[in-house]
């Protein structure tokens, strides 16, 4: 499993991008997107998924 970003809710603040330990998040076109091949769900790095913990909008970084 990986995480994904609900683009319509994203404020494009970019916090998730620089917190992601796997460099899985990039700004593409209109929104930030998570590369499913790179997302590790932060396993072995942190207890919580960094993107979901830092995101200011509820239910925007969610399990894909």
């Amino acid at each position: 499993m990986t995480f994904k970003i609900i683009a319509s809710q994203c404020t494009q603040c970019g916090a998730c991008e620089f917190e992601c330990p796997s460099v899985a998040i990039k700004f593409k076109g209109e929104s930030y997107v998570i590369d499913p091949d790179k997302c590790t769900e932060c396993k072995e790095a942190f207890d919580t998924q960094q993107c979901a913990s830092v995101c200011p909008v509820p239910k925007t970084c969610v399990p894909a």
Partner: protein
């Protein structure tokens, strides 16, 4: 862009240096050669050097100098109940208005374009949306680029303080002399009502634990800045029933830790902004409640009363926002910095303000010596330069001064909708202006028509345009003298 957007008009209506000094009026002129130091009497010289060109840190400087903000750091590590980040940072910008988010390179272009057009520019700030210390890479890249091109510009950030201790040393290295920290509580029990969560050390904290961490980091950050000689401004959002009384305690704590000024600003919580407070119906304070709290805080850390809660991409003097003139697509792709206008302006201001300060202390002395126990609340229409130089109908805000046995002091501003548009006054708007001037005794402006004057009079507010282009304090002292039958300035000069 067409005609030059700004001359030295904000200062007076004339533009040449000689003309400018020649128009300097009344009591001030006579005493301008007496070698006044050019700083208000009660400020330490080393501190004065740091704040004399900073409109936000010095009430005196805010008549002359302009700031600009660039929104380069949109990420934030705290959630505040008065902020909806779908829109904007409420720290120092009106919530509910989206600002143009810039990359550091775009920001550099914009700063140069503004510096070329707005000679009053002295400060570049990063103040949301987001947190300048958390989104540090972009903040730093922007400051480095701008400092290389415009070395004399002052750099300034605004932060919630959570990530501040991580960057205090770098801020000092980069010559950032001014930092604003938003501190709304020193008691985590109060904090839980303001902050639903923080993101710290790679996890999200909620509740009392979040508030405690934020509080500890804010205090540590403040102490670290004080230790490095960086001047700090503490912003507190006044939230009635949540932290209004508690702000007395906040004032004590931050003063003990060396805060330079404390700025209390009203909560803005219109439901339309969609913030937590807006949706739960938490109200903000009114102008008189604000003033009452500020009066109780007097005597703690220096109080700042001229904050305008400016937008995160505001440009210009504190009372104005010319941000819309400098949107990215209106700026050419290649811009080169031309220092000539800023240099000419700075020279004029150096002379002008010496004169102004002399006039000001004379006027204040006169009011104090008048021996009247009365006080007057005076609203002034001004376009800068410390003078009464705006038409009533053109004013978007009024600066409010209190003349009392303690002298003349600035107590705040009242926003108003511009009443006269395209040469015609709108009656409906005038009602709004009158409402905004509640409690004011006299309005001073450069010009006012008979009709608005009569309507103001009906509402119990007098208006005078006899002091057009005088220094604000000089005009107020003359009014005070006339009002309470003491010797007017002109007679004593």
């Amino acid at each position: 862009m067409s005609a030059p957007i700004i001359s030295l008009e904000g200062l007076t209506s004339t533009t040449s240096f000689d003309q400018l000094l020649a128009t300097a009026k009344s009591g001030g002129c006579a005493s301008s050669t007496c070698g006044l130091s050019g700083k208000p009497d009660d400020i330490d010289p080393a501190v004065w050097e740091k704040i004399k060109d900073h409109p936000c840190f010095s009430e005196e400087a805010h008549h002359y100098f302009a700031r600009m903000h660039v929104a380069v750091a949109p990420a934030c590590n705290v959630q505040c109940n008065y902020c909806n980040r779908k829109y904007d940072c409420a720290n120092e910008s009106r919530p509910g208005v989206v600002s143009e988010k810039l990359t550091p390179d775009q920001a550099l272009r914009k700063v140069i374009a503004v510096a070329n057009e707005v000679p009053q520019l002295s400060v570049l700030g990063i103040a949301g949306p987001g947190d300048a210390c958390y989104d540090w890479k972009r903040t730093k890249a922007t400051f480095e680029r701008v400092a290389r091109e415009i070395p004399d510009i002052k750099l300034c950030i605004s932060t919630n303080g959570l990530a501040l201790p991580d960057h205090a040393a770098e801020l000092a290295d980069m010559n950032v002399d001014h930092v604003t920290i938003t501190i709304n509580m020193v008691d985590p029990e109060v904090g839980v009502k303001i902050y639903p969560w923080i993101f710290y050390d790679h996890r999200r904290y909620i509740g009392i634990e979040a508030a405690r961490i934020l509080h500890e980091r804010q205090m540590l950050g403040l102490e670290m800045l004080t230790a490095r000689g960086i001047l700090t401004k503490i912003n507190s959002v006044m939230i009635p029933g949540v932290n209004d009384e508690h702000l007395l305690e906040v004032n004590r704590w931050v003063k003990e830790r060396g805060a330079f000024v404390h700025n209390v600003m009203p909560l803005i919580s219109e439901p339309a902004h969609g913030t937590h407070f807006g949706l739960t119906g938490q109200r903000g304070p009114n102008a008189m409640e604000m003033k009452a709290l500020q009066d109780r805080l007097e005597g703690g850390a220096n109080l700042m009363r001229h904050c305008r809660q400016c937008r995160a991409d505001a440009v210009g003097l504190l009372g104005e926002d010319r941000g819309q003139e400098f949107t990215l697509d209106s700026i050419p792709g290649e811009v080169t910095y031309d220092p000539s206008r800023r240099e000419a302006y700075q020279e004029v201001v150096a002379h002008e303000r010496r004169d102004h300060l002399a006039a000001r202390s004379e006027a204040i002395g006169m009011v104090k010596a008048a021996g009247s126990g009365k006080s007057l609340l005076v609203a002034v229409a001004t376009r800068g330069g410390g003078r009464v130089n705006e038409h009533f109908g053109h004013a978007k805000e009024f600066q409010v001064y209190e003349a009392s046995p303690r002298g003349i002091s600035f107590v705040g501003h009242r926003k108003a909708e511009q009443y006269c548009r395209g040469g015609r006054g709108e009656n409906a708007t005038l009602d709004g202006v009158i409402a905004a001037l509640e409690g004011i005794d006299i309005v001073l402006c450069a010009k006012i028509g008979d009709c608005p004057k009569d309507q103001l009079a009906e509402a119990g507010i007098r208006a005078a345009d006899a002091y057009g282009h005088d220094y604000i304090e000089t005009a107020i002292s003359a009014i005070y003298a006339a009002e309470f039958g003491v010797q007017p300035l002109a007679a004593t000069a």
